[in-house]
């Protein structure tokens, strides 16, 4: 692999032109032409594509799994959540490093290092994300409010998402605005509910528990709880392949070198899409002016990672934990239901507790927010999955370039929707019981694997001046050991994958 020779002369378009240009050789695939890095947005507060990661990440882990652990083990267990989310914030920053420097997805980066790694993610994504089970929590909460059976809501939501995404001209712009508004509503609403029903002591205990480093009760090491604890840490913030998809959203938002790549369009406008270049681009890292702009982009994404991603994920779990503690205080049945692990019964009991403790509307509000979380996750998930698969198919499946990226995106979107509806009507929503363990394994394994991919692509494929420093490498390396180590420990010691 030639990563040391900075530039070489190769023709960009062999047919018809004899012009040569500076390129950056990265890995085994086509070299990246050098292009100008655009200026970073000066206003650091402008919202970026992290909104997708927040929409995907703030899900059941935050609203159910962690409140459950707090009720079982006490608030001190929350230090593990702090570690999990902080680790994910660093992963976000490192994912952004490659995507912003090249305009390529992390999947493309993986293929540059070793193609089979990319194929692993390709197959794993289909296996993990084609099941419509993720719709069930939000749709079930909607059923509690309206009485409409959840399968009906889920099927309607699936078709709605498909039609909506097909009609849009540029999908990213619309989704960013919509998710931005929905998450804003979620954050405002969650704060208001927590402020109404929670109290100082609950919050004090929850916050204190975040710094109880090293607390690990005997019970948490048991066969029954260890896989759940590991699963909860892995699912703190974005889980599975969600961080990898973030690189595609960064590219489509036009962040840094992503601005040289055309945007994905809805099916209706797919023919207007500009032609997709066959690889990403690199900027001149030896030009001080370009490096200055790069620093601006890093600042922009760091703000996104810290305030939006870390801050909002923390806020939502803290609020939901405070809510669970207050519900358990009002109604002791809630604690045993939550401990028992029946999610729907536990959420229902929490809602009842709020209704009787604070004011009757709080129970409904609680369900409304679970439904909102479900809607955010569904919108984000369908878009991200289709984006990721379209990207890998376009670049690496022979003959796929005949179709535009936008058409491939539409193909995957409608494929997963059709399969989802069929499964909702005739099959098990989460996937066949026999493969549930395999799916849980793949999801956590993918997280350990992407940490290794990150270390490889950022240290081997990027020019030296923009590679990560030793501290960041150690943190990402720790991530790989953390996810894979706990996964295999759970598997070998208890014979159970995470849950």
């Amino acid at each position: 692999m030639d990563v040391t020779s900075k530039t070489s002369e190769v023709p960009e378009e062999p047919a018809g032109t004899a012009v040569t240009e500076k390129v950056w050789k990265a890995g085994r695939l086509e070299p990246m032409p050098i292009r100008k890095l655009p200026d970073a947005p000066p206003s650091m507060h402008i919202l970026g594509p992290t909104v997708f990661l927040v929409a995907l990440g703030v899900g059941m882990g935050e609203s159910y799994m962690w409140p459950r652990l707090v009720l079982v083990f006490g608030p001190d267990i929350r230090w593990l959540f702090l570690v999990g989310v902080t680790l994910q914030a660093f992963v976000l920053l490192e994912m952004a490093r490659y995507a912003m420097a090249t305009g390529e997805s992390i999947f493309f980066g993986a293929a540059r290092v070793f193609k089979p790694m990319m194929w692993f993610f390709y197959v794993a994504a289909i296996l993990i994300y084609m099941w419509p089970g993720h719709l069930s929590a939000g749709a079930a909460a909607f059923e509690e409010i309206t009485g409409i059976p959840w399968q009906v809501t889920a099927c309607v939501a699936l078709v709605f998402v498909g039609v909506l995404f097909s009609l849009l001209s540029v999908i990213y712009n619309f989704l960013e605005k919509l998710l931005g508004l929905l998450i804003g509503l979620l954050v405002v609403g969650t704060s208001v509910i927590a402020a109404i029903v929670g109290n100082w002591d609950d919050l004090g205990q929850t916050l204190q528990g975040m710094f109880a480093f090293g607390f690990f009760p005997e019970k948490a090491l048991s066969e029954a709880w260890f896989p759940i604890v590991v699963g909860s840490i892995a699912f703190a913030g974005p889980s599975g392949m969600q961080q990898m998809w973030y690189t595609l959203q960064l590219r489509d938002s036009g962040a840094a070198m992503g601005s040289h790549i055309p945007k994905i369009r809805g099916l209706r406008s797919a023919d207007q899409a500009e032609s997709m270049p066959s690889r990403g681009f690199m900027f001149d890292t030896e030009d001080p002016a370009e490096m200055q702009k790069w620093k601006g982009w890093r600042k922009w994404v760091t703000f996104d990672a810290l305030l939006l991603f870390w801050g909002i994920t923390m806020l939502v779990t803290i609020s939901f934990t405070v809510l669970a503690m207050s519900a358990a205080r009002t109604n002791p049945d809630v604690a045993s239901l939550i401990e028992g692990g029946d999610r729907d019964a536990a959420l229902s009991a929490m809602s009842d507790a709020f209704a009787s403790a604070g004011s009757p509307i709080l129970g409904t509000l609680f369900f409304a927010f679970i439904a909102l979380i479900g809607l955010n996750a569904t919108l984000g998930l369908f878009d991200s999955f289709s984006r990721g698969q379209a990207d890998m198919t376009y670049y690496f499946v022979p003959g796929a370039k005949r179709f535009s990226m936008s058409k491939l995106y539409a193909g995957f979107l409608w494929g997963v929707i059709t399969f989802g509806i069929l499964i909702l009507l005739f099959g098990p929503a989460d996937g066949p019981a026999g493969i549930l363990d395999i799916l849980a394994f793949l999801s956590t394994f993918a997280m350990g694997a992407y940490c290794i991919v990150l270390l490889l692509v950022n240290n081997k494929l990027l020019p030296k001046p923009i590679r990560p420093g030793p501290v960041r490498n150690v943190i990402i390396g720790f991530g790989a050991v953390f996810y894979l180590g706990m996964l295999f420990y759970s598997l070998i010691r208890f014979g159970v994958v995470v849950s």
């Binding site: 960009e12 012009v19 040569t20 240009e21 500076k22 050098i34 292009r35 100008k36 890095l37 655009p38 200026d39 970073a40 947005p41 000066p42 206003s43 507060h45 402008i46 919202l47 409010i145 605005k177 931005g180 508004l181 998450i183 804003g184 509503l185 979620l186 954050v187 405002v188 609403g189 969650t190 704060s191 208001v192 927590a194 402020a195 109404i196 929670g198 109290n199 100082w200 919050l203 036009g254 601005s259 040289h260 681009f281 305030l307 939006l308 801050g311 909002i312 806020l315 803290i318 609020s319 004011s359 009757p360 509307i361 129970g363 409904t364 509000l365 409304a368």
Partner: protein
Amino acid sequence: MTQTADLKQLAEFSVPAVSVGAAAGVIAGGLAAFVGQPFGWAVATGLGLGVPLMLFGAGYAVLMGTGKIPAGVFAPAAVYWVIAFPLSLLVHSVVTEWVVTGTPGLPPEPWKFLAFRALVSMGFAIGFLWMHEQIGRHWWPHILERNIYARRTVEQYSHLAAALEARKAATGRGRKKRVA
């Protein structure tokens, strides 16, 4: 500009900030009505929470419009809501007590009540800022011609627009020009 005209402009400029408070109130009141609570109860809950949040939201917009605090920056919003959010919840609590028992009353341990809400206000401040910007970026350009405060705020964002323009230009250059 007369004082009335000025106030009218400020009120118009404050629409996005007021809508965030209204959203909180409407959600609370609307859902109360939806689940079959008496109409009066739903209205009282909605107003008890919505009105103070709307008023404080307007206060924030006035400070921003008159240039006392910068547009869309987190720290001033956090400081503002650390005071305004607990007070809004206090009003809500008093109103709820009034509706339920017939006489208004403070919550038990009022200082602890306020301190807890002050901590939670951080979250509200992020959500407020987020929604304020999302709604404002559609509303302010719409009233730009007749509203000096909207114009000033849009100007604050204008160097961002310039940067976006530069990004587009860079893309254009990237496609056409080749470095020899």
